[in-house]
Symmetry: C2
Subunit: 309 residues, 2 copies
C-alpha cells in the first residue's frame, strides 16, 4: 500500500484516470511513494486509451482514509466530487483546471490550478519544471486526456497552452492525434448499449449553487437519438434521483461530438430558471444549446450565476 | 487606473505589500496592465524595507469593485482577509502560501499555492518560469519578505526552498541578509510608541474555525513588557472587539524575535479550550508558548483542530 494516494473525481473521465497515472509516475520519479487509484468505473473511452497505450486501470478505492492519511487530488477539488471520506485525510496537493469551491484545508498545501482545458496540460509543465522526461506511453495517455476534454480540439475550453501540450505529447507518443482521437471518442460515444443507470452515471457531477444542489451529467454521442429514444424511462429514473438526493436541478447534456451541439434534458424545480439563463425555450423537458459542448465553461458559470441570484 | 489590481491581505505585512509590488512588476513585463495596491496601512517594518530599496507604498484602496472587475490576490485567499467587496469582482489569479478556506470562484483560475514560508519564494519561481529577470530593487523587497515571514530564517515555516530563494535574492539585491534583516525586524519591533489600536491591528487576521469566529493577532518585539505594561487597557479594548464582532476567541501573540518565544493574551469563550489545545496553563489571561513564532504553522492548525471538534 502506497503512502500517498492520487485520484481524480468520482465518475472518472479520461483526464481524471490518466492524470492520476501520470502524476503518480512523476511523483515516484521524485521519490514519493505514490499510487494512482480511481473512485469509480472506467468508461469505454478511457478503457480504449488505456489499452492503446498498454496500461491497466488503476485500483478502485471506495474509502481512502482506511488506506492512507495523505492524498493528492487531480482534476477536481470540490468535496462532493471527491472521496466520501475526503475530510478525514490530509490533502497534500491539488493539480486541477476547474473553479475552486467547497474546498478547505487546515494546513498550507501545494495547489496548482490553471485555466486551461485539461489537467494533462498542467502535468506536462510539471514534468518539465521537475526535469523529468515523459515516457512514450504516459505521453499517449496525457494526449488522450486533452483530446477527451477538448472533444478533439474543438471545445471552447481548449487553449493555446493545450494545443502546445497536445503537439508535444503527440510527438513523444508518436501517434496521429486526429486519427487516434476520433477513434477514441467514438469508442466512448456508443450509447446504444448502455443501461439507463450507466447513462446517467457516466459523467455526472454534483455542484452547490446558491445553496441549491445541482447535478450536471454529460454524455458524448454521435447519435442523440440513442438517448432520446429512452426519454420517458430516463425521466422516471431522474425524478427518483432528484427526490432521493434533494436536488433542485438535474441537467443531462447529450453532446453531439460531430455537430458540437448539446441537447439537454432538464428536470427539477429550477428547470425554468435554467432555461431562462440560457435564453432557450424548454419543451417537453428538453432544450437545445447550440455550440455548447463544455460543461465547465458553457454550463456551470451560467447556472451558478442564475441560481445564486 | 489599471485593468487588474493586485493586493495582499488586510493589515498588510511585508510579504503582502512586497508581493503585490513584485507580482505587478512581473505581470507588466508579461503585458498585463496591472497595479499593486494595498488594503491597509503600511507597518514600520515594511516602511523600512520600502525606503531601503527606493519604493513608495502602493496606493491604498478600500473598495476594489469601483475600480476594476479583475483582481489578483497575493499572500492570502480567505474572503474575510481580503477586500470587503471581493465577491463582486473576478479573481483571475491567486499566489499564496496559506491554507485554503472561505474561497470560491465561479470560473477556473490560475491558483498557485505552495507550502513554503513566503509568497516571495513562489514569485522567485514565477519570474524564472516566465523568463523575466528580477531587478535589483525588487529582489531587495522579496528578500525583505522572506526575512519578515521567517523572523530572519528562524521560523519553522522557513523551508529549504525559502533558503534557496533568499540566497539568490540577497545576491541579486547585493545586501548582507543577516545584517539588513535584523535592522529591518528591529524597525518593526519597537512597540513602545504604538497606540493600543495600532498594536492590535498591526497584524490581526480573522479565521473561521468550526463555525466560530476567531481573531489571531501577532506583534513582534524585542521587549515583551512594551506590550504587557498595558495589559489592562488592552483587555478593555479586546473585550469590546470580541463583543462587537461576535468572536469566540481573540488571541494576541507577542513574539520575542530574539528569544523566539511567544507570550499570548487569550480572551473569549474558547480561551480555556485554546489553552488546553496548547497544553499550557492560562493565568491572568496569559500563556507562554515556548518556541512558537509562526501563527500559520504553530497556532492556526492547533486551534482549527481544537475548535472543530
Amino acid at each position: 500500500m502506497a503512502n500517498v494516494l492520487i485520484f481524480g473525481h468520482k465518475n472518472p473521465d479520461t483526464d481524471s484516470i490518466t492524470a492520476a497515472i501520470a502524476y503518480a509516475h512523476l511523483k515516484k520519479q521524485l521519490g514519493v511513494d505514490a499510487e494512482a487509484v480511481r473512485l469509480g468505473e472506467v468508461n469505454d473511452e478511457t478503457a480504449y486509451a488505456l489499452e492503446k497505450f498498454g496500461f491497466e486501470a488503476p485500483r478502485l478505492v471506495e474509502q481512502v482514509a482506511a488506506e492512507t492519511d495523505q492524498v493528492i487530488l487531480v482534476d477536481h477539488n470540490e468535496r462532493q466530487q471527491s472521496a466520501d471520506d475526503i475530510t478525514d485525510v490530509r490533502i497534500l496537493e491539488v493539480v486541477d483546471h476547474h473553479r475552486i469551491a467547497n474546498f478547505e484545508t487546515a494546513d498550507p498545501l501545494y495547489y496548482r490550478a490553471e485555466p486551461v482545458g485539461c489537467t494533462a496540460t498542467i502535468l506536462n509543465k510539471l514534468y518539465k519544471e521537475n526535469g523529468v522526461e515523459i515516457p512514450k506511453d504516459i505521453a499517449g495517455l496525457m494526449l488522450s486526456a486533452i483530446i477527451s476534454d477538448s472533444l478533439l480540439f474543438k471545445s471552447p475550453t481548449f487553449t493555446e497552452e493545450d494545443k502546445k501540450a497536445a503537439d508535444e505529447l503527440a510527438a513523444i507518443a508518436d501517434v496521429d492525434a486526429d486519427e487516434y482521437g476520433l477513434a477514441m471518442l467514438k469508442a466512448g460515444a456508443d450509447l446504444s448499449k448502455k443501461t439507463l443507470d450507466e447513462l446517467v452515471n457516466m459523467d455526472a457531477k454534483e455542484f452547490e449553487m446558491g445553496g441549491k444542489k445541482v447535478v450536471i451529467a454529460q454524455v458524448n454521442t454521435v447519435d442523440v437519438d440513442d438517448v432520446l429514444n429512452r426519454k420517458e424511462e430516463l425521466e422516471d429514473l431522474l425524478y427518483r434521483v432528484i427526490a432521493e438526493r434533494e436536488l433542485s436541478l438535474y441537467m443531462l447534456a447529450i453532446t453531439d461530438i460531430l455537430e458540437n451541439d448539446s441537447t439537454v434534458l432538464i428536470l427539477g424545480s429550477e428547470a425554468e430558471a435554467a432555461c431562462t439563463a440560457f435564453s432557450t425555450p424548454l419543451e417537453n423537458n428538453l432544450a437545445t444549446l447550440k455550440g455548447v459542448v463544455s460543461r465547465k465553461k458553457q454550463i456551470v458559470p451560467v447556472l451558478t450565476e442564475a441560481l445564486s441570484n
